[in-house]
């Protein structure tokens, strides 16, 4: 809490007097990727939060130091009632939606109902452990759980403030056309694949952290060179995703400020550990892979340094352990291990690479990894896959072939600040048909399974952190659930006439919670 008060004092110093908080001027920014929906209950991918996060808010959020702070919740507490978990939440009074309606418990109940409904939400499984939603009064409600659910805590309490009354008035289509939230930005207009226009919300509750610009236009420019050209020519004053190859140049540009941080995604190399017929079933082969690739060199030249190595859990994430280090590059040891595993002259294997730029230069990264594997004798028959084909190949339990049978370059976002519980449930826990466990897992390890199930059923944060550290250690030593490679680093750039403080969540640093023009 100390950092929070310091931070509030800082922002107070920036804006001379809260009474003069009237926002002025206009600003045009450019994103490389675009959210597909403006309805928080309909989001399907992290990029949706780039837009949703400007207009909608949750009960808690992570501040610029990646520490959780109460947001729309004034306070909340994890309780036990008849041996079952209950989350008890008091709302912040005086919060208004953009249309003037006051925010109340009913709005969260409404959100819960929508999130639970698979016809609306793509995340209904995340509400599966909730027994009931109990409204105590307008600013007080409780969430009762059938069984404890760690993901609820990891997922920032899941719920969004959704204007029930407005929704009932305008209906599904009306809300999609003119969404209304409690966030610092009001919806003005949207043209898909082109732009989103927003206006600062005068009635915004948080007087300490709010935009100082009145009109904001977010342009969508996916092509890197084009986005950079738009910034350099002055057509836009703020861009995200500076291409890795240009980050060094941008940091030297006069009159330009940059910000670099991890993006929330986590990359790793996976292989069919579960399959006794596969060489990767042998621990020594997996250890060989872990030491065969010079990840630091790849990050330096392929990613232009724009990646952060990590071992199982990234720095700043829940349960991060500074003592756990990535395997060091050691091709000699790798060859030795392969020989000990019974492959003195190596072996041939299919290698699947993602070619769609979901992250910068992933295609080249995969090619480099395969080349390094080849040098110790793991000879890749490389195959490039675009995103749709890639994710279909990776999924377990599909009805049809082909089965993933070799080295697979994969990624799984742990979000910001990052929590590995959900991803591990998907790619470290063994695949269990119909249960949601291991939907992209090539590991089958009883010990790992039981530890992850225990983590899932734990809601107390200190205990969760302890469990995560234990699992990470086990995962690392046995090289299970893939070999972690790096976390992509993104760079934002803006002209120095803009005052901008990047908020990590939601929207992965793209939240315009605090942005203004210098006088």
């Amino acid at each position: 809490m100390k950092s929070r008060t310091m931070f509030m004092a800082l922002s107070l110093a920036l804006s001379p007097a809260p009474a003069l908080a009237q926002a002025t001027g206009s600003l045009t920014v450019a994103f490389g990727a675009e959210g597909t929906t403006l309805d928080p209950t309909k989001y399907s991918a992290g990029v949706d939060h780039y837009f949703i996060g400007q207009m909608f808010e949750q009960l808690i959020r992570y501040d610029t130091d990646l520490k959780p702070v109460n947001w729309l919740a004034e306070k909340w507490e994890l309780q036990q009632q008849d041996g079952k978990a209950v989350i008890d939440i008091y709302l912040r009074p005086g919060v208004k939606f953009h249309n003037g309606d006051p925010m109340s418990s009913a709005d969260f109940e409404f959100c819960y109902e929508r999130l639970k409904d698979p016809k609306v939400s793509r995340w209904s499984h995340l509400q599966a452990n909730v027994e009931k939603f109990e409204v105590i009064d307008d600013l007080h409600f409780k969430i009762h759980f059938k069984s404890p659910d760690g993901d609820y805590i990891a997922g920032a309490l899941q719920l969004w403030a959704l204007p029930k009354k407005y929704f009932e008035k305008v209906g599904e289509d009306g809300f999609a056309k003119a969404p209304v939230g409690t966030g610092p930005w009001k919806f003005v207009s949207r043209s898909v694949k082109e732009e989103l226009k927003l206006e600062a919300f005068d009635g915004y509750w948080n007087k300490d952290a709010r935009p100082g610009v009145k009109d904001l236009t977010i342009k969508i420019i996916p092509e890197d060179l084009t986005r950079v050209a738009a910034f350099k020519s002055g057509a836009v004053d703020w861009i995200d995703n500076v291409p890795p190859s240009m980050v060094a140049e941008f940091k030297k540009l006069p009159g330009v400020k940059t910000f670099t941080a991890i993006s929330g995604n986590n990359l790793y190399i996976d292989f069919p550990t579960y399959n006794p017929a596969s060489p990767f079933n042998k621990l020594k082969v997996r250890q060989a892979v872990a030491q065969a690739v010079d990840m630091d060199a790849i990050i330096k030249s392929v990613l232009f340094g724009q990646g952060e190595r990590y071992a199982e859990v990234g720095k700043g994430s829940t349960g991060y352990n500074a003592d756990l280090k990535p395997y060091a590059y050691n091709p000699k040891a790798a060859k030795q291990l392969l020989a000990e595993a019974g492959y003195p002259s190596g072996f041939e294997t299919p290698c699947y690479n993602l070619t769609t730029p979901r992250e910068p230069n992933v295609k080249e990264m995969g090619e480099a990894v395969f080349a390094y594997l080849g040098q110790v004798g793991i000879r890749c028959k490389a195959q490039g896959l675009e995103y749709g084909a890639w994710i279909n190949l990776g999924r377990r339990g599909r009805s049809g072939p082909p089965e993933m049978d070799g080295v697979l370059m994969w990624m799984w976002s742990q979000g910001l600040p990052g929590d590995p519980a959900t991803p591990w449930g998907g790619h470290l826990h063994s695949f269990v048909a119909g249960k949601g466990w291991g939907s992209y897992s090539y590991t089958d390890d009883k010990q790992a399974d039981s530890m992850i199930e225990q983590l899932k059923g734990t809601m107390e944060q200190p205990r969760r952190e302890e469990l995560i550290r234990q699992i990470a250690q086990y995962k690392h030593e046995n090289v299970l659930g893939g070999i972690t490679t790096y976390r992509p680093v993104i760079t934002l750039a803006w002209r120095d006439k803009v005052e901008f403080k990047p908020w990590p969540f939601p929207g992965a640093w793209r939240g315009f919670q605090e942005i203004s023009l210098k006088k």
């Binding site: 060179l225 190859s245 030249s301 090619e367 195959q383 490039g384 675009e386 084909a389």
Partner: protein, 298 residues
């Protein structure tokens, strides 16, 4: 019209002589032939004559500029890309893939298209109507959209690219060849052959095919450039050639990620495409002018 018929009859009688005389008349595009021959040599030589392994990774020597620039070395004639691979070697390796795609795609689409066009034009009636409707249907779909969808079905690879391009271009041949056949089959010698009891196959092979060979040759030569550009576009969009295969379009797609660091990586493969297509088109024009006395706009 008399002229045209006469020259057709002439070619039909002694095609080789006439063609030879025309080909080695005037206006031979020597430069184009030279450039195209170089591409062919590079393609045939393949990996055996490249100075470096086109896929040889050497992160230490990434972004070396071309040899004539400061910092460049003669070891890497045209510089290196982001993974330290030799661009000259990759352009040579790319020539092989590019020409393989072009040759297969042209032979397959030309062969199938010509056969279908001949059948359609010769038999007419319901067969013709159905075939022409199918052609119309396919031609009403933007070719790149169709190609993209098919490529996602087949999963991208060299074979897929060939299949996709063949599917895209067969209609083009079918239409033009059908038109040729429509006028040819009214000719006396075809009618005579029919009356004389020649089988359909004989008429196709002996009387129709020789007369459309020129058109086919001209169409094919003019298509080389189009196929190369089409392949480059597919590869650029990520649904064409996949590494470890190398193609010029793929090199361009890779290079755009670091356009600010190495202009040569985005420029030189494009120049290779440009020179090859230019040569192919000039050779095609020359073939058309010499082989196609009617000077139609093929």
């Amino acid at each position: 019209m008399v002229d045209v018929d006469a020259s057709y009859a002439e070619i039909a009688r002694r095609p080789s002589q006439i063609v030879m005389r025309r080909l080695f008349g005037s206006g031979i595009p020597w430069w184009s032939l030279l450039i195209f021959s170089l591409v062919v040599v590079a393609a045939i030589g393949g990996d055996n004559i490249t100075p470096h392994d086109p896929n040889g990774l050497d992160l230490g020597s990434a972004f070396k500029p071309p040899s004539w620039l400061e910092g460049g070395s003669i070891d890497y004639l045209l510089g290196t890309d982001n993974l330290g691979r030799d661009i000259f070697s990759r352009i040579m390796a790319g020539a092989s893939v590019t020409l393989t795609v072009a040759i297969y795609a042209i032979v397959i689409s030309g062969g199938i298209g010509a056969l279908i066009g001949m059948v359609s034009g010769y038999f007419g009636g319901v067969v013709d109507t159905i075939i022409m409707r199918v052609v119309d249907i396919q031609m009403s779909i933007p070719s790149l959209a169709l190609a993209l969808v098919i490529a996602t079905v087949l999963s991208p690879s060299l074979t897929t690219v060939i299949v996709v391009i063949s599917i895209t271009y067969w209609t083009w041949y079918a239409r033009i060849i059908r038109g040729e056949i429509l006028s040819l089959k009214e000719r006396d010698y075809v009618a005579l052959a029919k009356v004389a009891g020649c089988s359909t196959a004989t008429i196709f092979v002996r009387h129709l095919l020789p007369n459309i060979l020129n058109t086919l040759l001209v169409l094919a030569s003019l298509q080389v450039g189009q196929v190369i550009i089409f392949e480059a576009s597919l590869s650029f969009l990520g649904l064409g050639i996949q590494s470890p295969d190398v193609s010029w379009g793929l090199m361009l797609a890779d290079a755009r990620n670091y356009i600010g660091n190495a202009w040569w990586a985005i420029t030189l493969p494009g120049v290779a495409i440009m020179l090859t297509c230019l040569s192919a088109n000039l050779i095609g024009d020359w073939l058309r002018d010499t082989l196609d006395p009617k000077r139609r706009q093929l």
